[in-house]
Symmetry: C2
Subunit: 373 residues, 2 copies
């Protein structure tokens, strides 16, 4: 197995490769749709966690971002971003960080309980923008979409606080990850919007005329061609995509912009095993359940003119230890693979794979730092 | 839920706590057995990856260690360790690191193919110690235990090289992780030794009089009271233990020396959910399959006079996102847990949990650095 265009990079250990061209095309696609639809594009940065990659988005007109922790918010604020949404429940233990940030930037927080609103009203030193987090069916966090009375009460309580500015409704339809077709993804998207619109209508009737709607998952944002009746999208994973998103139907495998280059350290005819230096410590531990019921932790990527291509189905990573990855390969491909060679492995879940690395290496040999906070 | 002795540490974000007393007792137990049995204790450092924690072992007479990468070897060599085994297949791409290290320290490598022996013989600048890696049933790497002829040929080839010094046979009975009782663990251990002894006997007949035996898994080393007919043990996980090892039967839950302190950020009666700031990014993604077939990503640890106690079965982590952990709790316990509180979560796989953190925080508030290479 050879012919990968990164062979010249002299890689010694498992290394997170980034195809900048693919990432830029992924960004351009979503940014273009957002612009055409007239909605704000506030990309989630938790996938790449890199100030340098975040800066690429500025060329596409992006001036606001989403993060999943206050430490990540502080990192991006230091890099010049001044409109940041923390799409994670308020952590009372970090109130000092909230006050430090909200002095300098437009900080957006999410709430779903009276308790948290009271906490913020008491503890905030500077005004912050508040979104009510709505659970549109995912069942993780947020006020259940049917609890109109509770949502009305929360909006009223926010409105009554001098420090909290009510912006609107924020949802993450994470159950779109269970989809396996465009139809299913669009079904989840439409259902989520119906639920949010009914709340917005109810709030309008109660005098809340300004109520934005922000939605965020990569499957919906990848498949829906035109966004209507919403104000903001917050996808994150799309910048790299991964095998999980391919399985859902968000992207083609050729659009996956990251791969882990793994040295081959063993070959065993017994069991058709190729052993890679590349385990859970480098790929992450997420797995795909394939049609045959087997678990797969990644696939070899096919060679391509630049970088890599689609997944080689005949070369799955079938088990992982901390440092070892076991690829099952037979026939001609087994013979072609050499100990000492370097193989690119497509990630199952790019967000977690990237977290295992301190930086990216682009195909032209540039190191890009990550935060990992 | 309160009464944890780390409440005074003013923890803001998910933090890896280390109970130094428990870790020292775990070390003392294995070190004591090794000493009583007259075998070399060469602990694996991949679990803790910390020069400071490695230094604790010196008080127990340890002067040799095991690592799983050359970068880890370089880190510990810089910390003063001069007898290091890299228990991972030789990565041809790192030959320069091998030569740099073997100039300064006693470097031990493992081989299982003629190709790798030839590679080393050609490329080594300084002598290294060589172990033949034997697959005693785990099926990951190593020469299959029945291939006596191949092992004899490899030993002969090593012997013929001026740069390679044949030390013996090294095995990792990783299939002990499938065990669920002391009897099963001991069965695996005895079977592995029988397989290694037959090879040793065969080699003795061929004139290889010096042939050490090194074995390494935490389950076997935790359960076997006295080591006979071997020269070295290399367990690693035992320093912290975890829920997986408890399930196997290696340890009691009270012996688990690390826990991730997670802030509580949400409570939902609907689904009896407690939402923790503590996801895959902090706990790792390994899961246990419990008796009822459900997957669990960690358990709340009970309060204890110092640190924490055993797992609270009524408080499992039932799902994980990148930053969120969802704990299912009902009844009185649900009422006791407060948003803003801090809960210790026992890890499923301590090696991978620790990799998600840059340092440990001891119960007396000391920060201990990790390498994470």
């Amino acid at each position: 197995m050879s012919g990968y265009s990164f062979d010249h990079l002299e890689i010694e250990v498992p290394t997170l490769l980034l195809d900048r061209g693919k990432a830029l095309r992924n960004i351009a696609k979503i940014a273009g749709r957002a612009q055409a639809s007239g909605v704000r594009f506030r990309p989630h940065t938790k996938t790449h966690q890199s100030a340098e990659i975040a800066a690429w988005f500025r060329d596409f007109g992006v001036s606001a971002i989403t993060v999943s922790s206050l430490d990540m918010a502080a990192y991006f604020a230091a890099a010049g971003w001044n409109d940041i949404t923390v799409a994670f429940p308020v952590n009372y233990r970090e109130i000092d960080k909230i006050n430090t940030l909200s002095e300098r930037i437009f900080l957006n927080l999410i709430v779903d309980s009276r308790e948290t609103i009271n906490f913020l009203d008491t503890k905030l030193a500077y005004p912050v923008r508040i979104w009510i987090k709505v659970d549109v069916g995912y069942g993780r966090v947020g006020v259940h979409w049917e609890k109109h009375e509770k949502i009305r009460a929360l909006a009223g309580r926010i409105d009554a606080s001098a420090k909290l500015q009510f912006i609107g409704l924020l949802a993450h339809a994470g159950h779109s990850y269970h989809a396996r077709s465009h139809e299913e993804i669009i079904g989840t998207y439409n259902e989520s919007l119906q639920r949010l619109w009914r709340i917005k209508e109810m709030l309008a009737g109660e005098g809340f005329e300004r109520c934005e709607i922000s939605v965020g998952d990569t499957p919906c944002c990848s498949v829906v061609e035109r966004f209507e009746g919403i104000d903001e999208i917050r996808p994150g994973n799309f910048v790299f995509y991964d095998l999980k998103q391919s399985q859902i139907g968000s992207n083609t495998e050729e659009e996956i912009a990251v791969a882990v280059a793994c040295p081959v350290v063993g070959k065993y005819r017994d069991g058709n095993r190729v052993v890679l230096y590349g385990g859970g410590a480098h790929l992450g531990r997420d797995s795909l359940v394939e049609a045959d019921g087997g678990s797969v932790f990644g696939y070899l990527a096919a060679p391509a003119e630049q970088g890599w291509g689609a997944a080689v189905r005949a070369a799955p990573i079938v088990s992982l230890s901390q440092e070892h990855g076991i690829m099952r390969v037979d026939g001609e491909l087994f013979e072609e693979i050499k100990i000492g060679g370097l193989l690119p492995i497509l990630p199952v879940h790019a967000c977690m794979t990237a977290m295992m690395h301190g930086h990216y290496l682009t195909l032209d040999g540039e190191l890009i730092e990550r935060f990992n906070g």
